[in-house]
């Protein structure tokens, strides 16, 4: 069953066109990785799906509903949650307040179950988010998105600026979340990690999709070629 459908999406910042006619579908329970160089339009695409960026053209359909012009907070109540780039926590709120303020939909996830998946947050529960380490902040950001019990979880560069050992921990928790059946669309710079965690991969270049396929069937060289826009022998 198709959960998300993006049709001919165009996104612009003034004259700059960040996303050019992108179309793809995402089935319920699938994990899709968006890869591509900086400026390929991955984050913009994610923000447009979440409602943080108003697209210039095209449509976004979620579970059959056209959400293209719906404000972000209403998409959250439908079940779309974005973990934004740079985490964007509310610095003066405590960990628990950051989580509880985001509880838009009821379901499997609550403060207790989020803290179980991210045990490192347990002792930090009543600490202001501003005083957390990068890894702890990232865990709160993911937990905060989970609090709305999303059907579609959008993750934007969750490993950015984190120590490799912390990234490992974040991805281990992510694997648990994927196992729960949440549909995940993630942007990831690290190709190996993207290919490991995702069932399907989309590679973007200059706002367009240049390569799409099952993670298992794609060989690394082809992905690298698409990533950098190198000419491929047919």
């Amino acid at each position: 069953m198709t959960l998300l459908r993006v049709e001919e999406l165009d996104c612009r910042y003034g004259l700059l066109q960040a996303v050019r006619g992108v179309s793809f579908e995402l089935a319920q329970g699938e994990t899709l990785a968006l890869i591509g160089a900086n400026g390929a339009g991955k984050s913009t695409l994610l923000r447009a799906i979440a409602g943080a960026h108003r697209p210039h053209g095209g449509r976004v359909l979620f579970d059959g509903v056209d959400v293209t012009s719906m404000p972000a907070h209403r998409r959250v109540s439908l079940g779309i949650a974005l973990v934004p780039e740079g985490r964007r926590l509310f610095p003066s709120l405590t960990v628990e307040e950051n989580l509880r303020v985001a509880a838009a939909r009821r379901g499997r996830w609550n403060v207790q179950s989020v803290l179980e998946v991210f045990p490192l947050l347990q002792p930090r529960r009543h600490m202001a988010a501003a005083n957390l380490s990068g890894g702890e902040q990232q865990a709160v950001a993911i937990g905060r998105a989970l609090m709305s019990n999303p059907r579609l979880l959008l993750l934007d560069e969750v490993s950015l600026g984190l120590a490799p050992i912390v990234v490992d921990a974040v991805y281990r928790s992510l694997a648990d979340i994927i196992k729960e059946g949440t549909t995940v669309l993630l942007v990831e710079q690290d190709l190996t990690r993207a290919l490991n965690v995702a069932g399907r991969v989309i590679c973007m270049l200059e706002g367009r999709i240049v390569l799409e396929g099952e993670a298992a069937s794609l060989d690394r060289d082809r992905v690298v070629g698409a990533y950098f826009g190198l000419k491929q022998p047919a």
Binding site: P71, H73, F90, S92, L93, E97, V101, A102
Partner: protein
Amino acid sequence: MTIVNAVVQGIFLGAFYAVLACGLSIMFGVMRVINLAHGDIAVLGAYVVFVIVQSTGMSPLVAFVVALPVMILLGYVLQLTVLERSLKSGILTPLLATFGLSIVIQNLLLISFSPDVRSLGGNAGAITTSSWQVTGGLSVSALGMVILVMAVLLFGALQLFLSSTRAGWMMRATAEDADAAELVGIDSRGVYARATALAVAIAALGGLFLAIRSVFDPVSGPTQLIFAFEAVVIGGMGSLWGTLLGGLALGVAQTLGAHINPEYSALTGHLLFLAVLIVRFGGGRLSLRMAR
């Protein structure tokens, strides 16, 4: 002993300034909007209470409770019709929009109520006239105590709201990052509208106190705005407890100035404000220029 009296009276006066400043502080804290019509909204609130008192003869305090829903509604409408649109077009537009609103309110009040000076002091009954003579040089007025207690309760309630309720967290989250708040399901438009409604309601309380403790006319607003603004800046922009302390400091500075010479009342308040500005924002640059 007269110095002590001046300080005590200053605290009472300062509590009034703090109430006036509270709404200004909320709107700046949540939306980064400096509402130049804040003083006029307070005076408008005073007129709403005045009309209710005139037509029903009830006590101004009861009339304020009746006026409250009107002011809250006005806040919502103000946000959704004027401020929300101006917020989208940069930081200067809300300043211009509220400046225009200030002129509109003043002139509407002039047309409706004439430039006559009014007061609700006579309608408020015993609280305007009662006082306790503590010692020879120190007297505590009932009205001063009422305003001080109300101010402390108001700021305490707001603090509790912001720190322990989900609606309060939503307001703080939106204030800190409106974009991210939307992404976790918070309707930032709704939060902004609630913040403005709250600010307008509290401004009306300030207007009520103004009307009871002294006099008002259609153009009293800007003066109230200046004192409220000074209180907010002295206490640190956007900080709630800071605004209470800033109001008290401004009140004490004014009464101490008046203690030296009645003409110095407003002047010492302005001097404190300028001193805080220089220390907080201009200190480093000032000393650099002097070093050259």
